[in-house]
């Protein structure tokens, strides 16, 4: 597997200029994801309305390029999704990183990270924001992703 498949130009662009990178005031749901093994830490902020619609998503943290790009892409994608669709996508994303059969169309731009499955030690990096997002929806304040998916 070539390095350029992991660090695609589009992924690198999200790392250089992450989208939705700010602490959201009045977020309805917040959770911190961390991976002590590599020192990654990402906080996810969600604005979810009473109909379980995610209006906005943002993030902040110190993390590697893969984790940062994944969070940038994911938060872009989340805006306008229902929470159960977001949770279903989290499962599909995990399946994809495990090398399973996944309809990547469901994942939109998040499928850019598919090549991470060929770099098992980097799977927790890509997974971090998704785990934090699910934790936020579930009302869990902090979650750790130190084991490969």
């Amino acid at each position: 597997m070539h390095l350029d498949d992991l660090y695609k130009q589009a992924v690198l662009a999200h790392n250089r200029e992450p989208q939705n990178y700010y602490p959201m005031e009045n977020a309805s749901h917040v959770a911190l994801g961390n991976n002590a093994l590599c020192g990654d830490e990402i906080r996810i902020f969600l604005d979810i309305d009473s109909n379980n619609l995610i209006n906005r998503a943002s993030f902040q943290g110190e993390a590697c390029a893969i984790a940062t790009a994944a969070a940038s892409i994911m938060t872009d994608w989340l805006a306008g999704q229902q929470t159960d669709d977001a949770q279903a996508a989290a499962l599909a994303f995990e399946q994809m990183l495990r090398g399973g059969e996944v309809n990547t169309a469901l994942l939109g731009e998040n499928a850019l990270l598919e090549a991470v499955k060929h770099f098992p030690d980097r799977v927790p990096s890509a997974q971090l924001c998704w785990s934090a997002m699910c934790a936020a929806i579930d009302g869990v304040a902090e979650i750790s992703t130190e084991k490969p998916a």
Binding site: L6, Y7, G39, D121
Partner: protein, 414 residues
């Protein structure tokens, strides 16, 4: 092994590298450049051959039989103990306990020596730069006894603050446990001086020598410590084996750590009696091949000459540090005046994990992350670093490749 002696006389790096078969392989189509010796060193043929020879020709249990193979195995195993005795400068084989590694050595001392001697109000003193393996065993003892773990300060170069340290030496401190050389920073601690200061206050001293034994001369009697632990795989030997040196008088007075075969003299259901040193602390069939391999590693280092290794690695450290500072935004973590070949660094706007993955594709193996020393990295305000660590087999050319690979990675990521 004659070649190792020739090698030492004129420091023939090609001949040294030829002793390490792993260095011949490629990674992602590039020659392997192994800069992760602080995590685990590569093994020379002398070690591989010693292990193979044991399993092929002498395999049997030790101290168990009258038959020839058992006697040969016992002789090889005890010869390895003698080699390790000489390697670290102990005076008696009774003071050389084979363990699974440095971690087990610390746990043994924590449980058998310290646990019965401390209670609420007592203190266990470590330094801020310790590896988790010299923190957590003491935290367990503190939980078990109510003793308190106290931490000597480290300055911004990554050196122990000796004034702060000396102020912490009081009668409630029941042991000083410190590393000889830092795996995360490379700092060589002034262990002899610190041991003198502790002993003057009546405090026993344990030293974690895992990162010292492959790189600098170790002499436990010159240091004056009570306990000293090493790990085989850090010093070009096998994994799962190490040595704990303990002063005979202290070991004699300590209860066994593990119970089982070998460590007993007699067993009855009413009461068992313990074997003499060092067997008292070696319950069960040990890692025989590992011990023999460790002895071979120590002999290999002695034949190359640890002072030659130190000199070579100091030259590489100086060269590598100078070259790495050419990299835009690179910040070295750990700038002690006295260092072994460890270059721990961060780079602005580039995460260590990405560096590690990208340069791996250029064949360069480094460690990224917290290096099992989270507290000291936290003091430096970082969650992780990239770390290139040197061994006797590394070259200036390899460091050139490292620097070029990092520059390329930075270009890609920024």
């Amino acid at each position: 092994m004659n070649s190792a002696v020739d090698v030492a006389e004129k420091w023939d790096i090609d001949a040294i590298r030829a002793q390490f078969p792993t260095l011949n392989r490629e990674v992602h189509g590039q020659p392997l450049i192994y800069l992760d010796t602080a995590a685990s060193a590569q093994r020379p043929l002398a070690v591989i051959d010693a292990i193979t020879d044991f399993y092929r020709n002498h395999n049997a249990n030790v101290h168990r039989g009258v038959h020839s193979l058992s006697q040969e195995a016992t002789e090889l195993w005890e010869n390895a103990r003698t080699t390790m005795r000489d390697f670290i400068g102990a005076s008696s084989c009774k003071e050389i306990i084979f363990t699974r590694g440095m971690t087990e050595g610390v746990n043994l001392v924590a449980q058998s020596f310290i646990r019965p001697r401390v209670g609420p109000g007592d203190k266990i003193l470590i330094t801020a730069m310790e590896h988790h393996s010299n923190i957590v065993p003491w935290q367990l003892v503190c939980e078990q006894t109510g003793a308190e773990l106290v931490v000597a300060p480290v300055n911004q170069r990554g050196e122990v603050d000796l004034d702060g340290f000396s102020q912490m030496l009081d009668e409630r401190v029941k042991i000083l446990a410190m590393m000889h050389v830092s795996n995360a920073l490379g700092t060589i601690n002034p262990v002899a001086e610190m041991t003198r200061m502790a002993k003057a206050a009546g405090i026993p001293v344990l030293i974690d020598g895992a990162q010292a034994s492959p790189h600098i001369q170790v002499d436990v009697q010159a240091i004056g410590c009570d306990f000293y632990c090493v790990s085989g795989h850090k010093m070009y030997g096998p994994t799962g084996i190490g040595v704990l040196y303990g002063r005979e008088q202290l070991l004699e007075a300590m209860p066994p750590y593990h119970g089982g075969g070998e460590m007993i003299r007699t067993v009855s259901f009413e009461k068992s009696t313990w074997n003499d040193l060092p067997s008292k602390f070696e319950a069960g069939t040990p890692n025989i091949a590992g011990g023999i391999g460790l002895g071979a590693a120590a002999t290999f280092i002695q034949q190359i000459g640890v002072e030659n290794i130190s000199r070579h690695e100091a030259d590489l450290l100086s060269y590598g540090t100078q070259r790495s500072l050419e990299i835009d935004g690179l910040n070295i973590i750990g700038t002690a005046a006295d260092k072994t070949g460890v270059m721990s660094f961060t780079i602005e706007r580039v995460h260590p994990h990405d560096i590690g993955t990208i340069i791996n594709h250029a064949g360069v193996a480094i460690r990224t992350g917290h290096h099992c020393a989270m507290p000291i990295l936290k003091q430096f305000g970082v969650a992780g670093t990239a770390r290139a660590s040197l061994g006797m087999y590394n070259t200036r050319q390899e460091l050139d490749v490292l620097v070029e690979a990092i520059v390329k990675a930075c270009k890609m990521l920024r």
